[in-house]
Each structure stands twice: as structure tokens, then as C-alpha cells.
């Protein structure tokens, strides 16, 4: 059994090898090559979920566009819950980061003259979304990963699953990680740790997210005493394929696709999103923000104007009028996915779609440099909540967020590591305790009463029923009771697989524990927010209430494990709260 002794030590350890994690690693290697950097990821870096991002990455570059407009779109898109100082830094640094990716080989789509091409995107008033056809995340991730190989001194622990942060005296000193191939439990010391583990869509049953998106970084931070922020804001993407939940990118609508109900009617016109025009209008109709489009779908269901499918109600996404050439050059992956998973061809057929859990606006509370309240602990990307996304993220803001705040967190972690001391001896005892949790309580349990897959499914349905696109006090409370019961039953979980070698049942049990840990704060925050804002829509409190709730909510884990919700002011600099207006002029 692991005795907790330190197996390796680094200056900075990055947990997660997706867009934010790799950007952080490269930033550190560039800013101070003497620092010892390591990346530990539960999958090989190029498998990270950044790979699935399709539509693009926003950054002001086109003539006639301004940083202020990108900032305003993001602020209004966030329903005024985003911090405006963070948003201003973000829009300023995004173009430079995207250019950096260009210099690192990302195959951005181009104009005829060789300059970067940009496309429209939901909630954006100008064309500013850079794209690599409709595989933007794939190309960005591989460009980052391949560029990271240039820095041979970056240590990688591929398929290493971090299960605990080692924190003593308010400072982080390293992690405990399982080497999946062998099942060995290692203590890795680090002067600074950057969490970049992505989102937590798997808390819900129907999601675009990959199997790996189990909120590990959020759970690690929360368990270690760092607060989570704005966890009630879960983004439903309006266009996922039924059954699989595979994402059909918003770029389909940016290129001119229409959303039709069962009568072939562009129903968004009934929801204060503008009037239909043959070609797409920015910030209007199908190019409205995701929260409003997903909510409109629910109302169409209520009106009986959706179509039935074996996997629930759907509407149609119509790309037929775009023609094969546009679809093949700008949306080839969409065609490939539809042909494969729906056996339909979008060139001639309608695509059935429905809203699907896509993105977590909330996350580990950080400042503008990715720093959490735990000294030496940083977070970036979807794991973190800076917050630039507030109550609703705009499509194509999350990829540049990974770059801008990955780089910022990397630089801040490097700075911290260069002046921090070595780990205290207390961490080996903590690490040994964690080893026992894994090796005795999970792997060695002789009388397991519960199974991972059963509890996971019950958690997912509890979350969908209690905290979907529309929620209310009683539904959230019912969900909270269900989660509390599941937490109790979690103690009965055992791992039937006794092998130490690539034990995916053990990994799934640890992931389930993480998801249950962060599901509770999601509901606790949702219950406390007695208003409707962005992606958080309460049927019992249908209006936005700036007087009471123009505020972040931080959730701390109490000593008894129960969530404790606190408020924190939103930073408003230049854009006082106003009405969110789409498809018409601001009055």
C-alpha cells in the first residue's frame, strides 16, 4: 500500500492537458525555462475534450469591429453577471492568443487573400469568430499539443488521475494521483498547482460532453476548501442530436441554418428574438444566445409544436438551402456526424435536434490571474469561474478563454513557484490517508452494497428533473434530497474489479464521487438564487432581480460536508445593468 512518500516533485504541476492546461504549460516553459513543469492528465492530452469544440474562437480582428463591442456582447450575453474587468482583459488578449495559435500552426480558415477568416456567432454583434472549418477545437488542441512537444523539459504523466490536492496551512503542496496503467498511487509534490480539467456535463444524463467531463478539478478544489462560484448556471446548447447528444455546432446557424418547428415555422420569432430574414442577421433569431434559444424550445414543446422522436421531442435544423458546397467547406464535420449517427444528409434532409447540456458557466472561484483563495492553487478554462461568462456564455468565447486564462494562470503559477518553498512533512500523512481511501475503502472493499453505474444514473436523472432548463424551489429541493441520499449510499460503493491494471471501474467510482460532490453545490446555489437570469430560469421567480441578485454566489464546503452559500459582488466597470435585447433596437 502507498505510504504517501513523495515520488516526484515539480515547481508547477498542471492537472489536465486540454486547451487551458497545455496553454499554461507552454506559458511557463516560455516565461521561465528553469522551472520544472509537469502536466498530469487522466487521458493522453490530445484526447482532452477541447478536441470536440467545433464552431470557433472569438477575437476581434476584422475591420469595423472593436474590443468594446466584444465586451458589450459578452456582458449582455452574461446577463450582466460577468465581471467586467475580467471581460475587458479577456477581449483585449483574445486576438493575440489566437494569433499565437496561428503562429503555432493552427490551420485557421482563410480569406482568399490569405488573411484570417471570421464568421458570425450567436449573441455577437460583429463577425469575430475565428474557425478551422468546424473542427476548431480539434485543430487548436493538436496545435497546442504538438507545440508543447517542442519543450522537451515539460514532464507528462499521461493517464494519471489526480484524486486529491495536498493542502496544508492554506497552501497547496502537491497532489495524489493514480497511474492508471499500473494502479500505483503516487504523491507528486508541487509548489503550485493549476487545475485545468474542463467541465462537468456528465453530472447530467444528456450532454454533449465526453465521458471524461466529470468535474474532477472542481471537486478537488471544493474538497480542499476552495469555493465554487456561480454553479447554478448550466448551459444547454440548443442543437444536439437526439440519443447521442452529439453537438451540432452553432456555426450551422451562423452560416444561415434555420430552426423549424413541426409546422416548418421559424418559431424563434415568437420569443422576442427578431423577425425572420432569409440570410442571417447578427444578434437575431437563430443567432440569438444559447440560453434564450433553449428556453424557446421548451415553450414549443408546451405548445405541442415539436416533433416526437424515440428520444423525446425534437425540432428541425434546416441547412438544405446552404447547398453542398457551403456545407462541405464550412461544415464538413456536421455532415459527417449526421451521416454517421443519424443516417441523414443535411444537404437534402432536416436534422432533428434538441437542447443538450453543454457547458458549465460556474467553476472554481478565481481572480483574473487564475488564483484561487488557496495559496499556490490556480484554475483555468471551464474548470474555473473568473468570471467572464456570468449567467450565460456566448458561443466561441470558451476556446479563447482557455488560451487567455490558461496563459495567465500559467504565468501566475510560475511566479508563485519561483518564490515558494518545499512541501511540509504533513502532506505525506494526507497522501497516505488518500492511498487508504483508494486501496482499502474502494479497491479492497469486501462487502459492497452499491454499484457505480446505478448511482450515477440516479444522480443524472435527479439533476435533470430538478435543475434543467427551467427549475423551481420544490424541484430543486427534491433533487437536493435525492443527492443527499445518494451521498449516503456512496459509502456502500465498492469496486468489483480487483486488478490494479487499468481499472476503469475504480476510475468511474472516483469520478462519481467527484460528480456527487459538485452536484450538491449546483443545487444549493440554484435554490438560493430566487430570480431568473441567463441559464438559471426559476418558474417561481420568473424575473431578473438586480436588487437582490446582481451578485455571484460562492459555495464553500462546510466542515460537515454540507454546502454553504455566500454572496460576492459583481464587478461592473462601464456597462450598467440593462435589458438584454436581441433582434431589435435597444429602446
Amino acid at each position: 500500500m502507498s505510504d504517501g512518500s513523495i515520488a516526484a516533485a515539480h515547481d508547477v504541476l498542471i492537472v489536465g492537458g486540454g486547451g487551458a492546461g497545455l496553454r499554461a504549460a507552454i506559458a511557463i516553459a516560455e516565461v521561465d525555462p528553469r522551472l520544472d513543469v509537469a502536466v498530469v492528465s487522466k487521458v493522453y492530452p490530445m484526447r482532452s475534450h477541447t478536441v470536440s469544440a467545433e464552431g470557433g474562437a472569438a477575437g476581434v480582428i476584422a475591420e469595423g469591429d472593436t474590443l468594446d463591442e466584444h465586451a458589450y456582447d459578452t456582458v449582455s450575453g452574461s446577463d450582466w453577471l460577468g465581471d467586467q474587468d475580467a471581460i475587458e482583459a479577456f477581449v483585449k488578449e483574445a486576438p493575440r492568443e489566437l494569433l499565437q495559435l496561428e503562429h503555432w500552426g493552427c490551420p485557421w480558415s482563410r480569406q482568399e487573400d490569405g488573411h484570417i477568416a471570421v464568421r458570425a456567432f450567436g449573441g455577437m454583434k460583429k463577425m469575430r469568430t475565428w474557425f478551422a472549418a468546424d473542427k476548431t477545437g480539434f485543430h487548436m488542441l493538436h496545435a497546442l499539443f504538438q507545440t508543447s512537444l517542442k519543450y522537451a523539459d515539460i514532464t507528462r504523466y499521461d493517464e494519471g488521475f489526480v484524486t486529491r490536492l495536498l493542502v496544508d496551512g492554506g497552501r497547496v503542496h502537491g497532489v495524489v494521483a493514480i497511474e492508471l496503467a499500473t494502479g500505483k498511487v503516487h504523491t507528486i509534490a508541487a509548489k503550485a498547482v493549476v487545475l485545468a480539467t474542463g467541465g462537468c456535463g456528465k453530472v447530467f444524463p444528456f450532454t454533449t460532453n465526453a465521458n471524461i467531463n466529470t468535474g474532477d478539478g472542481m471537486a478537488l478544489a471544493y474538497h480542499a476548501g476552495a469555493p465554487l462560484k456561480d454553479m447554478e448556471f448550466v448551459q444547454y446548447h440548443p442543437t444536439g442530436l437526439p440519443f447521442t447528444g452529439i453537438l451540432i455546432t452553432e456555426a450551422t446557424r451562423a452560416e444561415g441554418g434555420w430552426l423549424l418547428n413541426k409546422d416548418g415555422y421559424r418559431y424563434l420569432q415568437d420569443y422576442d428574438l427578431g423577425t425572420p430574414t432569409p440570410t442571417p442577421q447578427l444578434r437575431s433569431m437563430e443567432l440569438g444566445p444559447r440560453d434564450r434559444l433553449s428556453q424557446a424550445f421548451v415553450h414549443e414543446v408546451e405548445k405541442g409544436r415539436t416533433l416526437d422522436s424515440p428520444y423525446g421531442p425534437v425540432v428541425h435544423l434546416d441547412l438544405r438551402h446552404l447547398g453542398a458546397k457551403v456545407i462541405d467547406t464550412r461544415l464538413p464535420f456536421v455532415r459527417e456526424l449526421c451521416l454517421k449517427y443519424e443516417r441523414i444528409d443535411p444537404v437534402t434532409q432536416l436534422i432533428p435536434v434538441r437542447p443538450v447540456v453543454h457547458y458549465m458557466m460556474g467553476g472554481v472561484h478565481t481572480d483574473i490571474d487564475g488564483a484561487t483563495p488557496i495559496e499556490g492553487l490556480f484554475a483555468a478554462g471551464e474548470t474555473a469561474c473568473v468570471s467572464i461568462n456570468g449567467a450565460n456564455r456566448l458561443g466561441s468565447n470558451s476556446l479563447p478563454e482557455c488560451l487567455v486564462f490558461g496563459a495567465r494562470a500559467g504565468r501566475a503559477a510560475a511566479e508563485h513557484a519561483s518564490r515558494a518553498g518545499g512541501p511540509p512533512s504533513a502532506i505525506t500523512k494526507q497522501a497516505a490517508d488518500e492511498g487508504r481511501r483508494i486501496e482499502r475503502d474502494l479497491l479492497g472493499k469486501e462487502s459492497a452494497t452499491e454499484q457505480v453505474a446505478v448511482l450515477r444514473e440516479q444522480m443524472q436523472s435527479a439533476m435533470e428533473e430538478s435543475a434543467g432548463i427551467y427549475r423551481n424551489g420544490p424541484s430543486i429541493s427534491t433533487g437536493g434530497d435525492a443527492l443527499a441520499e445518494l451521498q449516503q449510499r456512496m459509502a456502500g460503493i465498492g469496486v468489483a474489479d480487483t486488478s490494479r491494471s487499468f481499472n476503469t471501474e475504480l476510475a468511474a467510482a472516483l469520478e462519481l464521487a467527484n460528480m456527487l460532490d459538485i452536484a450538491e453545490p449546483m443545487l444549493a446555489s440554484a435554490l438560493r438564487r430566487e430570480e431568473s437570469r441567463g441559464a438559471h430560469q426559476r418558474t417561481d421567480f420568473p424575473d431578473r432581480d438586480d436588487e437582490r441578485f446582481l451578485t455571484h454566489q460562492l459555495v464553500h464546503r462546510g466542515s460537515d460536508g454540507a454546502p454553504r452559500v455566500e454572496r460576492m459582488p459583481v464587478t461592473i466597470t462601464r456597462w450598467p445593468p440593462g435589458e438584454r435585447v436581441y433582434g431589435r433596437q435597444v429602446t
Binding site: S48, H103, G105, S499, N503, E505
Partner: protein, 252 residues
């Protein structure tokens, strides 16, 4: 839900646990046969409902992360894109990818590829001091098209599994790595072709390939590694002629 009346299909799955098994063995499972189910859905059904001890990798289930490659009826496939109904009435034979050491069940050790990839320098190499402050490198759509296909590699390892040369000679650098070298060589922003050629011109670089073309046939993303290898052989041959005829300094 009762499943007595629905169609079912057998999965014949290769199992291997290093602590207890001296060699892989077979285990049979029976899963629902549903039109929209892939081989991966079948495996996940086994994992969640029948036998939690079965180990395999998967993540995105949409053919882009490259995790879930396995041999399905002897052919390397992404299991998230291989539909059970295409193998009816079954049974479907599911084995780990070939030519890699098996870690456990359907999980193979791809460390060899991860070591080889950096050797071909798959990043932009420049001989100037241009930075982002100078703006973007211009690249026309035609210039982008020149390398685009080779940039589609998802590192799924199906080509290594299919490659008879890699099977016989593990020092062969292999199809995906060579395709990625070619991806950067053909990129108008790159100046590193010479450095990569120096790596690939070695005997274990491209010369091992006997143009079987299996790599291109099995590639789920139509990358055409065989084409990349062919181009390198040509470049290397030309280089050898030059090396023979010219003093080193004049070779560029």
C-alpha cells in the same frame, strides 16, 4: 424494461488481466441489438449492466478524440463509429489493436508512438524572429488545402495496428508520425522540412514501408499516410542523389 423480445447480438471480447492471465482469453457477452447502437455502446452496456470489470478506453463517442480504437472482427475501427447492426447476426469479435503491447483487456500501450511523435518535430519551425506582434502569416485557401488532409490525424493508432511493417519492425517510425511530418512540411508557414528529412531519411524512418497501403485504407479520417510516406521516399531519394553528387554545403 424487459429485453426478452428484442433483438440481441453476441460480443466475443478479448480479456487479459496481467496479474492472473498468461495470455488473452475470450469472454462472451450478449447485448441488445439496436439500430443506433455502436460497438462502443455495446461495450458500455456490458460495463454498466453486466460486467464492471471489463476495461477499455473511450471518451468523445463522436470520432474525434481517437481513444476507442479496437479490432472489430479483425479490422481496426473506432468503436464509436462502428455500428452493431453492420455486424449482425454476430457474434462480433472485439480485440485490442494489433502491434502494441496489451495493458489490460482492450487497452493497449501506445507509449512507443508517444516517444516517436516528437522525433519528427511536429511543430512550426522558422528561421526568423517573427512574433505575434507582426500579425498573422498569410496563408491562402489553396496553401491551406495543400496540407489540410494531413492535419486531420486524430492519433487513433488504427494505422499502426494495420501496418504490417510496424508489426515486423517496431523501430519503423510509422504512418501517423510520418503523415504529421508531411503536414508541417507542406505548411506554407513552416521552414523545417530539412530537419524532418534528416530524421526520416534514417533507415527506420520511411524506408521500412513496402507500400502496402493498409494505413490509408483503415484511416477513419482519410488522412492518407501511405501518400505521405511515398512523398518522403521520393524526397529522400532525391536527397541521396544530391548527397552523392554535391558537397554538403550546396545541398539546399
Amino acid at each position: 424494461m424487459t429485453e426478452t423480445n428484442e433483438d440481441r447480438i453476441g460480443l466475443r471480447v478479448s480479456r487479459y488481466r496481467p496479474e492472473t492471465d498468461t495470455r488473452p482469453g475470450w469472454q462472451e457477452y450478449d447485448v441488445p441489438l439496436r439500430t443506433e447502437w455502436t460497438v462502443l455502446d455495446g461495450l458500455n452496456h456490458v460495463k454498466d449492466e453486466v460486467d464492471p470489470t471489463l476495461s477499455f478506453r473511450w471518451s468523445c463517442r463522436m470520432g474525434i478524440c481517437g481513444s476507442c480504437g479496437m479490432n472489430v472482427n479483425g479490422e481496426p475501427r473506432l468503436t464509436c463509429g462502428a455500428f452493431l447492426s453492420d455486424y449482425a447476426p454476430g457474434p462480433v469479435r472485439i480485440e485490442p489493436l494489433s502491434n502494441f503491447p496489451v495493458v489490460r483487456d482492450l487497452v493497449v500501450d501506445i507509449d512507443d508512438f508517444m516517444q516517436k511523435l516528437p522525433r519528427v518535430k511536429p511543430w512550426i519551425i522558422r528561421d526568423d524572429d517573427v512574433t505575434v506582434v507582426d500579425g498573422e502569416y498569410l496563408q491562402t485557401p489553396d496553401e491551406l488545402d495543400a496540407y489540410k488532409q494531413f492535419s486531420m490525424c486524430i492519433n487513433c493508432m488504427l494505422c499502426y495496428s494495420a501496418c504490417p511493417v510496424y508489426g515486423l519492425d517496431p523501430t519503423f517510425i510509422g504512418p501517423a508520425a510520418i503523415a504529421l511530418a508531411e503536414r508541417y512540411d507542406l505548411d506554407s508557414r513552416d521552414r523545417g522540412a530539412r530537419e524532418r528529412l534528416d530524421v526520416l531519411i534514417e533507415h527506420e524512418g520511411v524506408w521500412g514501408c513496402t507500400f502496402v497501403g493498409e494505413c490509408t485504407r483503415v484511416c477513419p479520417k482519410h488522412v492518407d499516410p501511405a501518400g505521405a510516406i511515398q512523398r518522403y521516399k521520393l524526397k529522400a531519394a532525391q536527397e541521396n542523389v544530391k548527397a552523392f553528387l554535391l558537397p554538403r554545403g550546396a545541398r539546399r
